[in-house]
């Protein structure tokens, strides 16, 4: 590409002993420069689009002490999801059995299935998901589960503090599950 022009021989003789000045091509090979240019372009394209953070909206309900103002959740349509240590997820439908018989273990991969099934099997206006993050759960877990609500288009969900009984069940299950 950027070879020297050697084809300029065969000109007239300058005379004996006079060296022929080699004519150099003025053309420079621009391929590596173009390569570099496009490499940098790719870099800038990626950095511009990647660093745009998004925001997830959360509307908190107003705390009311008056029982008549509180939203009543129908037992049949309720799904309670509890978050434990090390990304463990537990859930039960309706009201928790005193012996913990309907307390089931799940994971972030499988919980979507659970939510979808519950959503299909219940009347839409009764369907409510109650999220109870335990003390050991992380911020990421909470966001992930709120995200599941968005993904599965759950219209009614609530972020509720975990109760003593549930917390101990979660703790016990966390200890056995690895």
């Amino acid at each position: 590409m950027a070879e020297m022009d050697t084809s300029s021989g065969g000109g007239h003789k300058k005379g004996p002993g006079v060296k022929k000045g080699k004519k150099m091509s003025t053309r420079v090979d621009l391929t590596p420069m173009v390569d570099l240019g496009f490499l940098l372009i790719t870099f800038f394209i990626f950095t511009t689009t990647m660093s745009q953070p998004t925001a997830m909206k959360l509307f908190l309900p107003k705390d009311t002490d008056k029982p008549e103002e509180q939203n009543k959740a129908k037992e049949s349509g309720a799904l309670t999801i509890m978050l434990g240590d090390k990304n463990h997820v537990y859930y039960y439908e309706g009201i928790l059995d005193p012996a913990g018989a309907n307390f089931k273990s799940s994971s972030f991969k499988d919980i979507r299935e659970v939510i979808m099934n519950k959503k299909k099997s219940t009347d839409e206006k009764d369907f409510v998901v109650v999220i109870k993050p335990g003390d050991q759960s992380t911020y990421k877990n909470v966001i992930d589960i709120l995200d599941e609500m968005t993904i599965n288009v759950v219209k009614k969900y609530a972020l509720v503090d975990i109760s003593e009984g549930e917390a101990s069940l979660v703790k016990a299950s966390d200890a056995t599950a690895q």
Partner: protein
């Protein structure tokens, strides 16, 4: 029979035009790129399917780092900085912090507030490079000493008339109780709407939201 002569063409292509285009694009991207501002508090945010870009105006940001420490910062614009000064002044009055004029100026210029009320004057005297995540954070541990509540009250006063965009930027591994304390602080001040900063993620196939997106329904309308 003599064949018509085909002129032998050089295989070399003139790269100049291509080079011009490449560098034109390059300069365009360099000029339009806004690099991430260096963050004093490193926070790795979780992913979500939320597609709305985080606002940049009238921002009040609460950062929660991996240890659950809470830091408060405001947007970069001049109006936001003025509001921050108003907040610090009103807290200085109501909590008898005894901050000098120079302290207030220093705290306003600081990238974030990362200490409790009693240590504010100390933070004001720190050099800028030591204002980092080593600071203890705003106390938000329990209901008896949740100073985020006071800060949020100051925010509502300073932003009276306009709507502050409250952003919560939490770290993946921060524990839930510190998140709950922030929610409590917001609830106590009737700040019921807030946004959480996340990284975008694609919607998984086959889910309800995915189906809605296929139909062209906007996420906000659901």
């Amino acid at each position: 029979m003599s064949r018509p002569k085909i002129a032998r063409k050089s295989t070399n292509i003139d790269m100049t035009a291509m080079c011009d285009v490449a560098f034109l694009l390059l300069s365009f991207f360099i000029l339009t790129t806004k690099f991430k501002p260096s963050e004093a508090v490193p926070v790795s945010t979780p992913n979500s399917v939320a597609s709305k870009v985080a606002p940049e105006k009238d921002v009040v940001m609460l950062s929660m780092n991996k240890d659950g420490k809470v830091f408060l910062s405001v947007g970069d614009s001049k109006a936001d900085k003025e509001r921050k000064e108003t907040m610090i002044r009103s807290l200085n009055g109501s909590k008898n912090l005894g901050l000098s004029e120079a302290d207030i100026k220093a705290l306003t210029a600081a990238p974030f507030i990362g200490v409790g009320f009693s240590n504010l004057s100390q933070q004001a005297k720190l050099p800028t490079e030591s204002v980092n995540d080593k600071l203890p954070g705003i106390p938000a541990q329990d209901s008896t000493n949740n100073q985020v509540i006071d800060w949020m009250r100051a925010v509502t006063e300073a932003y009276a008339g306009t709507k502050p965009n409250i952003l919560l930027k939490g770290d993946n591994v921060a524990k839930y109780p510190s998140f709950k304390n922030i929610i409590t602080a917001l609830k106590k001040n009737d700040l019921m709407k807030f946004q959480m900063v996340t990284n975008p993620e694609s919607v998984p196939n086959g889910t309800d939201l995915w189906r809605a997106n296929q139909k062209g329904v906007k996420q906000e309308d659901l």
